[in-house]
């Protein structure tokens, strides 16, 4: 086992609530793991244990080779943490926060000031550096939060929902910054409830629900788990032969709407799929108004894995 972050069988309960129910995870050096799950899935508890803020009831975890319970001090030297419940100091200025964290992490006064200036510049906060955090916008605050976890250039980073509550442009900006970090070779564990965020940033994605891992893989592997793409064709006129014409491409159940105009089916992904479908329908003499091939999104994967339905489909089922 030479993962930089690894956990085995983490269990944690708060009273009657089971927050973690035997969670395993591993992040190799230099990789980004996206931990994806809905509210209450146990993401924050997992991060709190891995960053030494909470102790597991059972199970073990190693970060940078150190046990998070027995060698908490050594773990703290190796990590940077950005979490919504372990925040920067609202009453101090951005610069004062960074200097304070530098000093508390062992930097000398001069080095702490130099590093603060550098980070403010890197995060485009120089102009706001001497204003108190309370006057920052949500995006600025989150950037400072992230900067604060980078003061000592830690090799291991934990970002707990780094963009929750941000507007789209601030999110895009955070993503760009996080991608840059990864370029620096840090090992990163990122939690999120946004599927596109995990898709954008993470090498591998761990889907958790009710305190345990329910699936893990690259975004592509997870998408492959639920089969290929989804096809949706809108016919010009109802035609009972449409399912037959589509049969060579279809990998499951074909659904036709009440008026017989819309046909939907899961299909096997392959290059040039849309072109071949249009051609096959044309050969069968069927004219169409619209054809769409959706590659599966992580949303589809997530709902598939957690058992929630994506949408309430009222189409009739027809055997292919």
């Amino acid at each position: 086992m030479d993962a930089t972050i690894e956990a085995h069988g983490l269990r944690k309960r708060f009273g009657a609530t089971v927050a973690l129910d035997g969670l395993d995870l591993a992040v190799p050096a230099g990789a980004i793991l996206g931990v994806l799950g809905p509210n209450g899935a146990g993401k924050t508890t997992a991060v709190r244990i891995l960053t030494t803020l909470a102790r597991p009831d059972s199970g073990t975890a190693l970060v940078a080779g150190h046990d998070v319970v027995r060698e908490a001090e050594a773990v703290r030297r190796a990590i940077g943490v950005t979490a919504q419940n372990a925040t920067v100091d609202e009453v101090l200025s951005g610069r004062q926060n960074l200097v304070m964290i530098g000093r508390l992490s062992g930097l000398r006064r001069r080095a702490a000031h130099a590093r603060a200036t550098e980070l403010l510049e890197q995060f485009e906060l120089t102009a706001a550096g001497d204003r108190i955090i309370r006057e920052y916008s949500g995006g600025m605050r989150r950037r400072l939060d992230l900067a604060a976890s980078l003061v000592t250039r830690p090799p291991v980073l934990f970002l707990d929902e780094p963009t929750t509550g941000l507007d789209p442009s601030s999110r895009a900006r955070m993503w760009a910054i996080i991608r840059e970090l990864v370029g620096d070779g840090a090992t990163l564990l990122l939690t999120t409830q946004y599927l596109d965020e995990a898709d954008q940033l993470a090498d591998r994605i761990l889907v958790i629900d009710h305190g345990r891992a329910i699936s893990e893989g690259t975004a592509a592997e997870l998408k492959a788990q639920i089969g290929g793409a989804r096809l949706e064709v809108t016919l010009t006129a109802s035609d009972r032969s449409a399912p037959l014409a589509l049969a060579p491409f279809v990998s499951g159940e074909v659904r036709v709407s009440h008026d017989g105009l819309r046909v939907r089916a899961p299909v096997r992904s392959e290059p040039g799929l849309a072109t071949r479908i249009v051609r096959a329908l044309d050969d069968a003499g069927i004219t169409i108004d619209d054809v769409q091939v959706h590659q599966p999104s992580l949303d589809d994967v997530f709902f598939e894995l957690t058992g929630h339905t994506v949408e309430d489909d009222q189409d009739e089922s027809v055997a292919a």
Binding site: R48, T51, T52, L53, A54, R55, E73, R76, R77, I79, V81, A83, Q84, N85, A86, T87, V88, D89, E90, V91, L92, Q96, M100, I101, R103, L104, S105, G106, I132, A148
Partner: protein, 264 residues
């Protein structure tokens, strides 16, 4: 050892910056002393008769110090519970710092704030006619007794702050406990005319011991000298014993409660 001191120093400065930026906390140690001094000496002063026609203003300053220091130590409870609720302390806990520095930095910042508060009360006193009559050494000894007491009480308030659910409840809890402590004492009026039960409490109240000790050291009117209760006959000893006892009980208790509160 050096890194421990550095952690304490960094967190002390951080807490002082907080007090400077929080209007409410700042006014507790700056505006309130001025206001209390004026209110008590001009509004109440005329109605309180001291034995031997002593000057109420000279009598009142030690009491005002006790009043201001005791009630402003609520800031410890509020500050600590704010830090616990806001996640500031969680951030510190992810850093490789000396763990007790969080509490030590808090109590040290409060000691420095208390010194500022004491200075303002003393300056107000000088303006309204109070004088330490018995020399600089005894004047400083009186202030030292007050600051020691204030430091001890801040550990008690640290316990309240850790136990309370949030800043508001810390404030409420502090008010309920600290106001009776400050007022059921000889701070603003001689205890002689209080109802019997209240008088016994007041004569054994640590606030009374410190206040009367300072009056004695400063050569100010001290009606408590005529009271037979042990603390009133051994003022300096009683005041040191009270402060030491409070410190010995509440400093380790605060450390224990803090540990429990930050262990999940």
């Amino acid at each position: 050892m050096r890194t421990m001191l550095r952690d304490v120093a960094v967190l002390t400065v951080r807490n002082l910056l907080h007090i400077r930026r929080e209007p409410l906390q700042l006014s507790d140690v700056t505006v309130q002393p001025v206001l209390f001094t004026l209110l008590f000496t001009y509004v109440f002063g005329a109605g309180v008769l001291l034995p031997h026609h002593g000057s109420y203003n000279a009598f009142a300053i030690a009491g005002l110090l006790a009043l201001n220091l005791t009630t402003s130590s609520m800031g410890t409870a509020v500050g600590l519970s704010t830090d616990l609720a806001s996640g500031a302390i969680d951030r510190f806990r992810t850093l490789p710092i000396w763990r007790p520095a969080v509490l030590a930095g808090r109590s040290l910042a409060d000691l420095l704030t208390a010194s500022l508060c004491a200075t303002i009360v003393a300056l107000m006193g000088l303006i309204i006619g109070w004088r330490p009559e018995d020399g600089i050494a005894r004047m400083l000894a009186g202030f030292a007794l007050f600051l020691f007491f204030s430091y001890a009480i801040s550990w008690y308030c640290a316990c309240l702050g850790i136990l309370s659910k949030g800043p508001e409840s810390a404030q409420g809890l502090g008010l309920i406990v600290l106001f009776p402590l400050a007022f059921v004492s000889n701070a603003m009026v001689p205890t002689q005319h209080m109802p019997a039960v209240l008088r016994v409490i007041a004569d054994w109240n640590p606030v009374s011991a410190v206040t009367a000790a300072a009056r004695e050291l400063w050569g100010n009117p001290n009606p408590s000298a005529a009271i037979g209760a042990w603390p009133m006959q051994h003022l300096v000893a009683a005041s040191l014993m009270w402060s030491t006892a409070i410190l010995i009980v509440f400093a380790p208790l605060a450390a224990l409660l803090y540990r429990r509160r930050t262990t999940e």
